[in-house]
C-alpha cells in the first residue's frame, strides 16, 4: 500500500532527512520519502502492517518536529 501525506509546518530540511531515514528503516516499509520542498511524505509498505507503520511514522515526525501536523494529502 502506498500513501501520501502533507507535513504542514515543515521548516527544517535537516529534520526532513532524518525523518525520511528513520521511516525507511521501519520494518515493513518498502519505500519512504520526505520531500522538504513540497512538504510531502510518501510511504509504501506491507498492507498487513500499514496501520502500525503509519502510527510509527507519526511518532517519528513528532519526535523531530513537534510542531508539524501530519495531514492526508
Amino acid at each position: 500500500m502506498k500513501k501520501a501525506f502533507k507535513l504542514e509546518g515543515l521548516n527544517c530540511a535537516n529534520c526532513a532527512e532524518k525523518i525520511e531515514r528513520e521511516i525507511k528503516a521501519l520494518e515493513g516499509v518498502n519505500f519512504a520519502s520526505v520531500n522538504f520542498m513540497t512538504s510531502k511524505m510518501v510511504i509504501e509498505g506491507d498492507d498487513a502492517r500499514f496501520d502500525d507503520i503509519i502510527k510509527a511514522a507519526q511518532r517519528i515526525v513528532t519526535r523531530y518536529e513537534p510542531d508539524v501536523v501530519v495531514k492526508k494529502a
Binding site: N11, A13, N14, E17, N35, M37, T38, S39, R63
Partner: protein
C-alpha cells in the same frame, strides 16, 4: 483579528531588539543591565530554549535549537551578555528571513506547476454541481466554462472553444477544439463553453500524472544531494566534538591559557555547527531545476537525470517521429510489371491495412478507398522489414529491399533518398512506392544548439534505408547516421557508442517512446518525445518531452547545466564560509557575530541563489 505566526515572530524580534539596545546604552555595569539583557534574551530566545529542552527530553540532541541554546547560555556564563543576546537575536532574524525565502520558493514552484484542477462541474440531467474531481467517474459528463481548467481527461461532446495547454507543454500557441476532440486535464479553456465526457478518473488524468512525476522526482537524488546528506550526518557531531575539545584541552594543556577565551572559541564552533545551509539549498536548487524544466514541458524524473544531462557527451536521436514528423506521404508510385499504379497501391494498402505504422497509414491515405478486410488473411508483420499477407488468394509482400531479399526476389535500388516500399505479388516483383517523411522545423536548430553546448557526438539511428539516413543527416548537420537498423541493432549501436565515450560523459537517447523502450532503458538518459497523453512513453523514459520539438533537448541540457552550477556554487559558498569561520574561530580571530553570519547568513544567500534557477528565462 488573529495574530499570524510570522507577525508574532516579528513582534518578538522587535521587542527583543528594543530591550537589547536599551541595555547596551545603559553604561553602568549593574544588575539592572543584566536583567534587561535577560529579558531581551527571554523574549527572543525563549522558544528556542523550550524547544531544545523538549527535544532533549525526547532523546534528540544535536539539533539546531539545542546548539543555539548551549552557545548562548554559554556566552552568558562567561559574561558575554551582549553577544549572547545579539547572537540569539540575529539567529531569529535570520531564521525568519530563511523561512520566508523557503516559503516564497515553495510558492513559486507551486505556481509553476499550477495545473491541479480544483473542482469539476458535474452535469446530472439538467443539474450542474460543483464537485471535487475525486467524485467524478469515467463516463460522467462535465461542463467546462471559459477561464476554467480542464479538470479531468475527457472528450468533447458539445461545443467548441480554444484551449491553452501551455501549463502542460510550455507551448503558448492556443489550440482549437470541438466535438470529438480529446482534452487533457490541466489545459485552460479560453473562450467557449464545453460539455465533455470524462475518460479518466482524477488519479489517472494527465495533470495528476505530471504532478506525481515531478513531485516524486526529488526522491531520485543526485550525487551532490547524496554527498550533502552523508556530509550533514558527520558534520554536526564533528564540529560539536571540536568545540568540546577546544573548550577543555587547550586550557589544561597550555600554560596561561584563559578558560573564558577558549570557551568563547568553542561557542563560536557551536553556532556554526548546523549544516542547514547545505541541507536546504542543494535540494532546493535541484527542485528548482525540475520545476523550471516542467514549466517548459520537459518532465525530468529525478535529480540524478538532471545531473546526467549536464554531462551529456553523446546525443543519439531516433529519426522517425523525433527529428522528422513521422507523417509520411506517398510521393511516387513506380510500376515494374503489368499492374498500374492504382493496383500497386491497392495491393500495398491491403497488406498494410492492419498496421498502424506511419508508412502503412500513408499508403492507405494515398489509396483513399475502402478496403475489404474479408479478402485479406495470413497477415505477418516482420519488424524492420515489412508485411506479407494473402490478398484475394495471392501472396503479397510489401516492404524494404531486405524483405524482398529474404523472399528471394531481386529488386533494383531506385536511388531515392526516401523510404521505398517494394511490392511483390506471388513472388514476382511488381514495383515500388516512394514515401517521404517531413523534417521538423526546429530539428536543425536542435542539432546546432547541442553542438554549441559541447555535445561531442550527435548520432542518428533509423530503420530506414542508409540513403534516407544520409540525406536527412546531411540536411540537419548531423555527422553520424546509421540506417537500415532493426530494433535490436539500435540497442547494439547504442551499446557501442556507450563503450566509445569517456567515463564521465553521458549518452542520451531521444526517441518517440513507442517502440524504443529497450534503447531508452539502455542509455544513461532516455528521453521520450511527444509524451503528452502517451502513458507508455511516460513509463519508459527518464525524461519526457511533452511537445514533439527536438529543440527541447538542448533546452533541457541548458537547465541542467544551470542547476548544477548553482548547486555547486552553493556547496562552495557554504563549505567555504563555514570552513573559514571555523578556522578563524579556532585561532580566536572570529567573533560569535561572524559565526551567526556563517550559519544563518550563508543559508539565506544559498536559498536566494537557488531560487535563481527558477527566475531565469532560459
Amino acid at each position: 483579528m488573529p495574530i499570524e505566526p510570522h507577525q508574532r515572530r516579528i513582534a518578538e524580534i522587535a521587542i527583543g531588539l528594543g530591550l537589547f539596545l536599551f541595555a547596551v546604552l545603559l553604561e553602568a555595569e549593574n544588575a539592572a543591565r543584566l536583567l534587561l539583557f535577560l529579558a531581551a534574551y527571554a523574549v527572543t530566545g525563549g522558544d528556542v530554549i523550550l524547544r531544545a529542552a523538549r527535544n532533549v527530553s525526547r532523546g534528540q540532541i544535536f539539533d539546531e535549537n539545542f546548539l543555539m541554546s548551549v552557545a548562548t547560555v554559554g556566552a552568558f556564563c562567561i559574561g558575554q551578555y551582549s553577544e549572547a543576546v545579539a547572537v540569539m537575536l540575529f539567529y531569529k532574524i535570520g531564521m525568519l528571513f530563511q523561512d520566508r525565502a523557503v516559503e516564497k520558493s515553495r510558492k513559486s514552484i507551486a505556481e509553476l506547476m499550477n495545473i491541479r484542477p480544483d473542482y469539476a462541474n458535474l452535469k446530472r440531467g439538467d443539474v450542474i454541481d460543483r464537485v471535487d474531481t475525486d467524485e467524478v467517474n469515467i463516463g460522467d459528463v462535465i461542463v467546462i466554462k471559459p477561464g476554467e481548467k480542464v479538470p479531468l481527461d475527457c472528450v468533447v461532446v458539445e461545443g467548441s472553444s480554444t484551449l491553452d495547454s501551455s501549463p502542460l507543454t510550455g507551448e503558448s500557441m492556443p489550440k482549437d477544439v470541438r466535438e470529438g476532440d480529446e482534452l487533457l486535464s490541466g489545459a485552460i479553456n479560453l473562450n467557449g463553453l464545453l460539455v465533455a465526457r470524462v475518460t479518466k478518473n482524477a488519479s489517472e488524468s494527465t495533470a495528476s500524472k505530471i504532478l506525481d512525476l515531478v513531485e516524486n522526482a526529488a526522491a531520485k537524488k543526485s550525487r551532490s544531494e547524496n554527498f550533502i546528506t552523508k556530509f550533514a550526518r558527520f558534520y554536526t557531531p564533528a564540529v560539536v566534538g571540536g568545540a568540546a575539545f577546544i573548550a577543555v584541552v587547550p586550557p589544561l594543556a597550555l600554560e596561561g591559557a584563559a578558560l573564558g577565551d577558549w570557551v568563547y572559541r568553542a561557542l563560536v564552533f557551536l553556532v556554526i555547527s548546523c549544516p542547514c545551509a547545505l541541507v536546504i539549498s542543494i535540494p532546493l536548487s535541484f527542485f528548482g531545476g525540475l520545476g523550471a524544466a516542467a514549466r517548459k514541458g520537459i518532465l525530468v524524473k529525478g535529480s540524478n537525470y538532471l545531473e546526467a544531462l549536464a554531462d551529456a557527451e553523446v546525443a543519439v536521436f531516433d529519426k522517425t517521429g523525433t527529428l522528422t514528423k513521422g507523417t509520411f506521404e506517398v510521393q511516387e508510385v513506380v510500376s515494374k510489371g503489368i499492374y498500374n499504379n492504382e493496383e500497386i497501391l491497392k495491393f500495398a494498402a491491403c497488406v498494410e491495412s492492419f498496421s498502424n505504422h506511419p508508412v502503412s497509414l500513408s499508403i492507405r491515405r494515398a489509396y483513399g478507398k475502402e478496403i475489404d478486410a474479408a479478402l485479406i488473411s495470413n497477415v505477418k508483420e516482420i519488424p524492420g522489414q515489412g508485411v506479407t499477407a494473402t490478398v484475394d488468394g495471392r501472396f503479397v509482400a510489401a516492404g524494404n529491399a531486405r524483405l524482398m531479399q529474404m523472399l528471394g526476389i531481386t529488386v533494383e535500388d531506385p536511388g531515392e533518398a526516401a523510404t521505398v516500399v517494394h511490392v511483390a505479388v506471388d513472388g514476382e516483383y511488381k514495383g515500388y512506392i516512394v514515401i517521404a517523411d517531413v523534417i521538423k522545423e526546429d530539428a536543425a536548430k536542435a542539432v546546432s544548439e547541442l553542438k554549441a553546448q559541447r555535445v561531442k557526438r550527435i548520432v542518428m539511428l533509423t530503420g530506414d534505408a542508409e540513403s534516407v539516413a544520409e540525406s536527412v543527416a546531411m540536411s540537419l548537420g548531423i555527422d553520424e547516421a546509421y540506417g537500415g537498423l532493426l530494433p535490436a541493432d539500435k540497442v547494439q549501436k547504442v551499446e557501442d557508442l556507450m563503450a566509445g565515450k569517456s567515463a564521465k560523459g553521458k549518452l542520451i537517447f531521444v526517441g518517440d517512446g513507442i517502440n524504443d523502450a529497450p534503447v531508452l532503458a539502455r542509455a544513461d538518459v532516455g528521453i521520450a518525445m511527444g509524451g503528452l497523453g502517451s502513458d507508455a512513453a511516460i513509463e519508459a523514459a527518464d525524461v519526457v518531452i511533452m511537445t514533439d520539438e527536438p529543440s527541447k533537448v538542448p533546452a533541457a541540457i541548458k537547465i541542467a547545466k544551470r542547476t548544477l552550477s548553482i548547486a555547486r556554487q552553493n556547496i562552495a559558498i557554504a563549505l567555504g564560509v563555514k570552513g573559514a569561520v571555523l578556522a578563524l574561530g579556532a585561532l580566536g580571530m572570529a567573533s560569535m557575530w561572524a559565526a551567526v553570519f556563517a550559519d544563518v547568513g550563508v543559508t539565506l544567500i544559498a536559498v536566494l541563489n537557488a531560487i535563481r534557477v527558477l527566475g531565469s528565462d532560459l
